[in-house]
Amino acid sequence: MKGVIIRILRQMGNDKRTLALMIIAPIIILTLLYLLLGESSYIPKILVAKDFPAVLLTELKKQDVEVSFLDEGADADALLKDKLADAIITTGADGMQIRMLESGNSKAALITTALKNASSAVNPPSSMNLTFIYGKIDSTGFNSLGFVLLGVLSFFFVFIISGISFVRERETGTLERLMATPIRRISVIGGYTVGFGILSAVQSALMILYSRYILGMEFEGPVWLAVIIMVLLAFTAVSIGAFVSIFANNEFQVMQFIPLVVVPQMFFSGLITLDTLPYGLGNLAWFMPIFYGCDGLEKVLIRGYGIGSIWRDLCMLIAFILFFFVLNVLALKKYRKL
C-alpha cells in the first residue's frame, strides 16, 4: 500500500496541472459562490396603492425595500414586465394582494421576507395573497428551474463528448492522418460541429419531450423554439469543447476544464437572479453562452414568449458558435499550415 501511496503522490507531483486544478478550482468556485450567494445589495422596488394602510406602510419602509405609490389607473403587469417595479401591492377585503413578475426567484424571496416582517409588526397581522405573472405560488422547484436544467445539461454533455472526441483524434494520430489528405481545415471543424449538432438536436428534442410528457413540466411557449435554442447551445458546446481540447493532452485533462468552463456558467444560468448580485457580478453573464441559452429557454418555456422576444439570445449563441468556429479552424494550422 505504501508503494501505491508514494506512486500516486509522485504522479500528482509530476502533473502540476492536475495539482493546480485540485487546489485552485475549488477555491475559485468557493469564492464565486461566496460572492454570488452572499448578502445581496439589491433593493426591491415596491409600488403600493394609495389606500395602503399607513401603519403597514411605515413598517414596510423600515425594511430594505424602496416603496412608492402606484399611480391610479396604471397597468400593474406592464410595470412589472418593464421592470419598473418588482412588486405591486393593493389592498382588498381579503388582505394584501401582492403581484410579482415570476415565482421562485431571489427577488420574490426578498420581497416576501420584507412583507412578512412588516406585517408581523402590526396588530392584527394582514393576510397576504401572492400572484405571479409567470409561474404559480405552488410551482415546484423543477417547474420553476427546469429550463436551467435543460440548458445546462445539454451544454455539459455535448461539451464533454466533443472535447474528448477531438483529443482522441489527436492522441490516436487520426487528426495527423486527416490533415495529410486534401480536406480543408474548415471542413474538419464544420464536420465536427454539424455531426455533433445533429446528435445534440436529437438529444435536445428527447430532453424536451421527456420533460414535458413524462415528467409533466409545464411549458408556456412553443416546444420547437426551445429545441432550436438547445441545439444552438449544443453547437456552442461543440465549438468550445473542441477549442479547450487544444489545451488538453488526454481525456482526463478535458474533464479538468469542467470546473473552469461549465461550473461558473451554471451560476449565471438563471439559478440566481442576476440583478440581485453584488459587485456588478451579474454583468459576467454577458460572456457566457449558457446564460443566453437559459435566458431564451426561460422566456419561451416559462413566459410563453415567441421568437420575436429571444432574438438577442439566438444571435449571441450564433456569435459564440462563429467565434469559436474560427478559432478552431485557425488552431488546426498547428497540424497543417495550408
Partner: protein, 243 residues
C-alpha cells in the same frame, strides 16, 4: 530517365532552440524505395511530416511532382501511413476506408470497389465488418496500410510501418512495398531497423538531424566494414563523441 517526384532542397527545421533537421537536400524518384534510416530522434518523422505538410521548414524548399509544396493538389498524390495505426477503432475496417476514401473525392461504386480492393490487398476482406477495436495489432497495421493505398497515390510516405510487427507479417508487408515500387510508385520508408534497408534502392542515413549518407544501398553496404549499415552509425557516434 526516372521522374523526380519529391525534391527537398536545403531543408532545416527547429523546435524552439533545438534544431531537428539541418540542411537536408534529397530527392525521391519514381519506382524506388527510399529508406530513411536513423536512431530515435534522428529526424526521420520530422522529415516525413514536412512532406505531408504537417510542418513547414524554417529554411529550404520542397517540390512534389514539380510543384512547390504545400499545395492541396500535391496532397492528393500522397498516401501517408503514420507511426501509430491512426484508424478509428469505433468504426469497422470497411467504414474506415470509406471515410478516408471520401476525403480523396471517391464516391459511389468506385469508392466501394477501391475499399474492397484495398482490404483484399492487405488480406482483411473477411474481417471488414468487424470493429477495429476487435482487430489484433497486425490487423490494425494492415488496415492502416490499406487506408494509405486506397486512393492509389503515386507517393507513399510510411513512417516506421513495421514497428511492433512479427517477422512473418513484416516480410509480407515488405513484399507488398516491392510490388508497389514495381508499379512505379515513389516510396519513402522510415525505419531504425537496419536489415530493412537492404530492401530499398537508396538509403538516407540521418543522425541528430544531419544527413550523414545518401546513396544507393549497394554503395553504402560496400563502404561499411563487414557490410553492416549499423557500422556507419557507430562511426558517426564515435565522431560525435570525439567532438
Amino acid at each position: 530517365m526516372l521522374h523526380m517526384n519529391i525534391v527537398m532542397t536545403q531543408i532545416s527545421k527547429s523546435f524552439g532552440k533545438t534544431e531537428v533537421l539541418h540542411d537536408i537536400t534529397l530527392t525521391a524518384r519514381e519506382g524506388e524505395i527510399l529508406c530513411l534510416l536513423g536512431p530515435s530522434g534522428a529526424g526521420k518523422t520530422t522529415l516525413i511530416r514536412l512532406i505531408t505538410g504537417g510542418l513547414r521548414p524554417d529554411t529550404g524548399e520542397i517540390t512534389i511532382n514539380g510543384r512547390k509544396f504545400p499545395n492541396m493538389e500535391a496532397l492528393r498524390s500522397i498516401g501517408f501511413m503514420p507511426q501509430n495505426d491512426a484508424v478509428y477503432s469505433d468504426l469497422s475496417g470497411y467504414d474506415n476506408l470509406l471515410f478516408f476514401g471520401r476525403l480523396f473525392g471517391l464516391s459511389g461504386a468506385e469508392l466501394r470497389n477501391k475499399a474492397n480492393d484495398a482490404l483484399s490487398w492487405v488480406g482483411l476482406e473477411k474481417d471488414k465488418k468487424k470493429l477495429v477495436s476487435q482487430y489484433s495489432g497486425g490487423m490494425k497495421k494492415r488496415l492502416s496500410l490499406a487506408v494509405t493505398l486506397m486512393h492509389n497515390p503515386s507517393i507513399l510516405l510510411l513512417d516506421e510501418p513495421t514497428v511492433g510487427i512479427d517477422p512473418v507479417l513484416r516480410k509480407s508487408i515488405w513484399d507488398r512495398f516491392e510490388a508497389l515500387r514495381l508499379e512505379g510508385k515513389t516510396i519513402i520508408v522510415s525505419t531504425h531497423v537496419m536489415d530493412e534497408a537492404v530492401r530499398c534502392q537508396r538509403a538516407v542515413l540521418l543522425y541528430e538531424g544531419r544527413m550523414i549518407e545518401n546513396d544507393t544501398t549497394g554503395n553504402l553496404l560496400a563502404k561499411t566494414a563487414g557490410g553492416s549499415l549499423e557500422n556507419l552509425f557507430f562511426a558517426a557516434n564515435k565522431a560525435g563523441d570525439a567532438v
